[in-house]
C-alpha cells in the first residue's frame, strides 16, 4: 500500500500497524501516509470509497455535496474531552430529577396531596445529596470542593450551577427535615421549641427550593453548551436547555408516578407527558439545526444506542402514563374501593414511571457521552468549523478568520 516514492526509504512497518493508527489514538504505531497526515474526511474510509460512494449501500443518506476535504494531524483529536465520567452523567439526571421533584412537592403542598408531597420531597433531597456527592467525587481534588464557593462567576455555568445547587439544597433540606419530623411523629429530632420555627419554615423553604428548581434543571445544558466540545456546543446553541428541562419533567413525573399513590399523581403524569412531548420535539428540532458532523456522535456507537433506548423508553412510558391517566379518570370513583383496579393502575403507574425516569437517564448519559465521543475524531471539529468559515466568506464576511494571508 505504498503511496509515496519516499516510502521505500523507511523501515518496514510493524504488522497491523496501519489499521491501528487509522483509529487514531496516541500510542498506535504507524507508518507514512500519502502526505504525512491522514485524509480526514469521514474517518478512516477516505481513501477507498470517496465521498460519492458513501451511503451507496443504503446505510445512510447519500451526500449531495462534496466532502470538506482536510488533512488532520495523524487523526489526533483537536479539542480535548473533559475528564467527566459516569458521575457527571448521574448528576445530569439527578439534578433534573431533583428540580422537577421540588416543583411537584411544592404543588402537592398547595393542593393538599400528602402522598405526592412526601414522595417528591424525599426524591428531591436524595437526588440532591447523591448528585452533589457525584459531583465532588468527579473532581480531581475532591477535598477542595469548597473552592467552588470562592467566586460567583456569570461566565462560568459551573460556578452558577454550584450556587443554584447550593440554594436548592438549602430549601430542599429544610422541607426534607420537616417531612422527616412529621413521619416520625415529631419525636425523632430533638428540636424542642425550635420545632415550631422549623414547621413555620415550610412554605418559605418550599418556595425557595422551587425558585432554584428549574434553573437547576436547565443550567446543565448551558454547562455542556459553553464548551469547545463540538456536539455539546452545537446542541447548546440549538436548544439543549429545552431538551434538558423536558427530560427533567419526565424524570420527576416518572419518579412521582412510581412512588406516590395513583389518586394523587395526576399532576405528575401530566408533567411527565408534557416532558415526553417536549423532549421528543426539542430533540428533533435541535438535531435539524446542527451540522451533520456534530449530529453523528448522537447516532453512532454507544451514545447512539443510549439515545435510541431513551426514545423507546420514552414512547413506552408515555403510553403507559397516558393509560394510567385515562384509567384514573375513568375509574375515579372506584379508586376508593376496588382493590383490583387500584392494583392494576398502581402497577402500570410504577412501570411507566420507571420507564420515563430511565428514558431521562439514558438521554443524559447519551448526550454526555456523544460529546466526549465527538472530541475523538478531528472531523467533528474541523468540518463544522470549515463550513461556518466558508459560509461567512460566502456572505462577504472575510475579516474574522483566525488564519490570515497577511
Amino acid at each position: 500500500m505504498s503511496t509515496s516514492e519516499y516510502d521505500s526509504y523507511r523501515p518496514p512497518e510493524p504488522e497491523g500497524g496501519r489499521r491501528k493508527r487509522r483509529r487514531g489514538g496516541r500510542g498506535g504505531p504507524s507508518g507514512p501516509d500519502d502526505s504525512g497526515g491522514r485524509r480526514g474526511g469521514r474517518g478512516g474510509n477516505g481513501r477507498g470509497g470517496g465521498w460519492k460512494n458513501r451511503g451507496a449501500d443504503g446505510n445512510r443518506e447519500m451526500p449531495m455535496v462534496e466532502d470538506v476535504e482536510f488533512t488532520s494531524y495523524y487523526g489526533r483529536p483537536i479539542v480535548k474531552a473533559p475528564p467527566w465520567g459516569d458521575e457527571i452523567g448521574t448528576y445530569l439526571f439527578l439534578g433534573g430529577l431533583a428540580g422537577g421533584s421540588s416543583l411537584l412537592g411544592f404543588g402537592a403542598q398547595l393542593t393538599d396531596r400528602p402522598g405526592l408531597r412526601i414522595a417528591s420531597r424525599m426524591t428531591a433531597i436524595a437526588a440532591t445529596g447523591i448528585g452533589g456527592a457525584a459531583l465532588v467525587a468527579d473532581l480531581g481534588r475532591p477535598e477542595r470542593f469548597l473552592n467552588m464557593m470562592r467566586v460567583v462567576k456569570v461566565s462560568s455555568p459551573m460556578s452558577l450551577g454550584t450556587w443554584i445547587l447550593s440554594g436548592f439544597g438549602v430549601g430542599s433540606g429544610v422541607t426534607f427535615a420537616i417531612e422527616l419530623d412529621r413521619i416520625t411523629g415529631e419525636k425523632l429530632l430533638p428540636l424542642g421549641p425550635l420545632r415550631k420555627v422549623l414547621h413555620a419554615m415550610e412554605t418559605p423553604a418550599a418556595v425557595e427550593s422551587a425558585f432554584f428548581a428549574t434553573p437547576l434543571a436547565a443550567y446543565t445544558a448551558v454547562l455542556l453548551g459553553a464548551t469547545a466540545v463540538p456536539t455539546w456546543n452545537a446542541a447548546g446553541r440549538n436548544g439543549l436547555p429545552y431538551v434538558f428541562v423536558s427530560s427533567a419533567s419526565m424524570a420527576a413525573g416518572g419518579a412521582a408516578m412510581a412512588l406516590a399513590p395513583v389518586a394523587e399523581t395526576g399532576p405528575a403524569r401530566l408533567l411527565a407527558l408534557a416532558g415526553t412531548a417536549g423532549e421528543a420535539y426539542a430533540m428533533s428540532a435541535m438535531r435539524k439545526r446542527m451540522h451533520p458532523a456534530e449530529i453523528d456522535p448522537l447516532d453512532d456507537g454507544e451514545p447512539g444506542h443510549k439515545l435510541h433506548r431513551a426514545e423507546k423508553l420514552l414512547i413506552a412510558g408515555a403510553v403507559g402514563a397516558a393509560a394510567v391517566e385515562v384509567g384514573a379518570r375513568v375509574f375515579a370513583k372506584k379508586l376508593g374501593g376496588g382493590w383490583k383496579t387500584r392494583a392494576v393502575l398502581r402497577g402500570l403507574s410504577v412501570v411507566s414511571g420507571a420507564a420515563l425516569a430511565a428514558a431521562s437517564a439514558y438521554t443524559r448519559f447519551g448526550v454526555l457521552e456523544a460529546g466526549i465521543e465527538s472530541t475523538k475524531d478531528p472531523r467533528h471539529v474541523v468540518e463544522p468549523q470549515r463550513a461556518r468559515l466558508e459560509e461567512r466568506r460566502a456572505r462577504g464576511i472575510t475579516d474574522d478568520s483566525i488564519t490570515t494571508g497577511r
Binding site: G27, I78, A218, R269, I402, G405
Partner: protein, 375 residues
C-alpha cells in the same frame, strides 16, 4: 495594581488595563523550525513537568509527545508532505491572500479585483498601528505585463515558486495560545485560572480543584487535568515506576504559563530562550504581531504563498491569540482548529434559552396541577 475592566461589553474578555506591563506573547515562525525539540525539553526542565509517554516515537514522523497536554506544554508537530500537498498548501494560501475584503471578487472577472491588501490589512491591523507594514507585497511582478498594475491581486502574478520541492517537512512547535477571550478562564468556577499582568492566562494549582470544565472550554485542546491516567509510564523498564515519578499538582488542570515565574523576574520563557533558530520569538505581543506580518510578507515576496498567520487577527473567534504562529499549510494539518470560537460567546443566548426553558417548565408544572384538579 490596576483594575480589570471589561472591553466593549464582551463577556469573554478579561484584560488588565493600565498595567505596568504590556501584553506578552510568542511568535512561532514554523518556517524556520528545525524540529530539535529543545523547547519541549527546556519547558519540561523549567516547569518540572512529569514524563509523558515512553520516549518512543509515536510513528507519526518524529513526534513523540503527540499533543499538548497536562504534562506537555510545548509540542513539536512533524508533518511530511509531497509535492502535491505543497502545491495545495500554496494554492490555499494564495486564496487566503486574495480573499477580497471587504468585497468578494467575482469569479468571472479576475482582474477587476477589489483591493484585497487594504481590506486584509484593515482587518488584521485593527487595534494596532499599521506602521511598519508593507503596503505592497514585494512580489515578482512584471510591471509591463497586462494586469500587473493590480499589484495586490496575486492571481495575476506569476507565483511559480522559485523552488518547488518534491518533499518538505512541516515542523511546528505548538503552545498555549493565551487567548484574548480565553475559554478556559471564562468557565473556571473556582477562579483558579486568572489573567496575569502580562495578559497571559495562568492556573493557580493550589486553588484548582480539578473540575475539568476548562478542559472542555479550550477550543485548542491545550489545557488538561493531570491525572494518573495521563502519564504513561514506561512499563518495560523495571527501574522506572509510576511511584518513582514526582508528579506535582496531580489532579489539577495544567498548561503553559508563558513561564509566569520567569516573566515576573524579567526573563523570557524557557522555550524561547533555548530555541536555537529563533523560531520561537518572545516579546511584547504588539511587536510579535508586527514581526509576523513582516515575515509573512517576506515569504510571499519569495513566492511562498503557502505562508499564513494564525492568531494575528483580533476579529477572530478568540479575539486574537497571545501566541501567534506562521504556518505553511491549513491549520488543521498541524492539528489546530480552522475556526475556533470561544464558547462563552454563545453564553448570553444560551442563558436566555435556559431561562425560557425554565419558565416553560414552571408553566408546565402549574398547568399539570391545574389540569388535574379534583372536583
Amino acid at each position: 495594581m490596576s483594575t480589570p475592566t471589561i472591553d466593549d461589553g464582551t463577556l469573554a474578555d478579561g484584560h488588565w488595563h493600565d498595567s505596568a506591563h504590556s501584553r506578552k506573547g510568542f511568535f512561532t515562525d514554523t518556517s524556520i523550525c528545525i524540529g530539535c525539540k529543545a523547547c519541549e525539553v527546556a519547558c519540561k526542565e523549567w516547569n518540572r513537568n512529569p514524563q509523558d509517554g515512553t520516549f518512543e516515537l509515536l510513528g507519526s514522523s518524529y513526534d513523540n509527545t503527540g499533543s499538548l497536554g497536562a504534562n506537555t506544554w510545548r509540542h513539536v508537530a512533524f508533518i511530511e508532505q509531497d509535492s502535491e500537498r505543497i502545491e495545495k498548501a500554496r494554492e490555499s494560501g494564495r486564496k487566503l491572500v486574495n480573499l477580497g475584503m471587504p468585497t468578494i471578487r467575482p469569479r468571472t472577472d479576475e482582474s477587476a479585483a477589489a483591493q484585497p491588501l487594504d481590506g486584509a490589512l484593515g482587518a488584521a491591523a485593527e487595534g494596532r498601528t499599521s506602521a511598519g507594514l508593507p503596503t505592497t507585497p514585494e512580489l515578482n511582478v512584471d510591471l509591463l505585463a497586462p494586469g500587473a498594475l493590480e499589484p495586490t491581486d496575486l492571481s495575476n502574478v506569476d507565483t511559480t515558486p522559485p523552488d518547488t520541492a518534491d518533499f518538505r517537512w512541516l515542523i511546528s512547535s505548538d503552545v498555549c495560545k493565551h487567548c484574548t477571550h480565553a475559554g478556559c478562564l471564562d468557565v473556571c468556577p473556582t477562579g483558579a485560572l486568572f489573567r496575569t499582568e502580562f495578559d497571559t492566562v495562568v492556573v493557580q494549582n493550589d486553588v484548582c480543584n480539578g473540575c475539568g470544565t476548562c478542559v472542555a472550554g479550550c477550543p485548542f485542546g491545550v489545557i488538561e487535568r493531570r491525572d494518573d491516567g495521563t502519564i504513561n509510564t514506561p512499563t518495560d523498564r523495571d527501574d522506572r515506576k509510576a511511584a518513582d515519578m514526582d508528579v506535582p499538582n496531580a489532579g489539577t488542570a495544567n498548561k503553559c504559563t508563558l513561564c509566569y515565574d520567569r516573566l515576573v523576574e524579567g526573563q523570557e520563557p524557557a522555550c524561547a530562550q533555548t530555541c536555537p533558530t529563533q523560531s520561537i520569538k518572545f516579546g511584547d505581543r504588539q511587536d510579535m504581531v508586527e514581526q509576523a506580518h513582516d515575515r509573512v510578507a517576506e515569504l510571499h515576496a519569495k513566492g511562498l504563498t503557502e505562508a499564513r498567520l494564525y492568531g494575528a487577527n483580533p476579529n477572530d473567534g478568540v479575539g486574537g491569540t497571545g501566541s501567534v504562529f506562521l504556518l505553511l499549510d491549513e491549520p488543521e494539518v498541524y492539528g489546530l482548529p480552522p475556526d475556533p470560537r470561544v464558547a462563552t460567546k454563545d453564553l448570553p443566548k444560551m442563558y436566555a434559552n435556559a431561562g425560557i426553558a425554565a419558565l416553560g417548565m414552571v408553566a408546565a408544572a402549574g398547568l399539570a396541577f391545574l389540569g388535574s384538579r379534583r372536583s
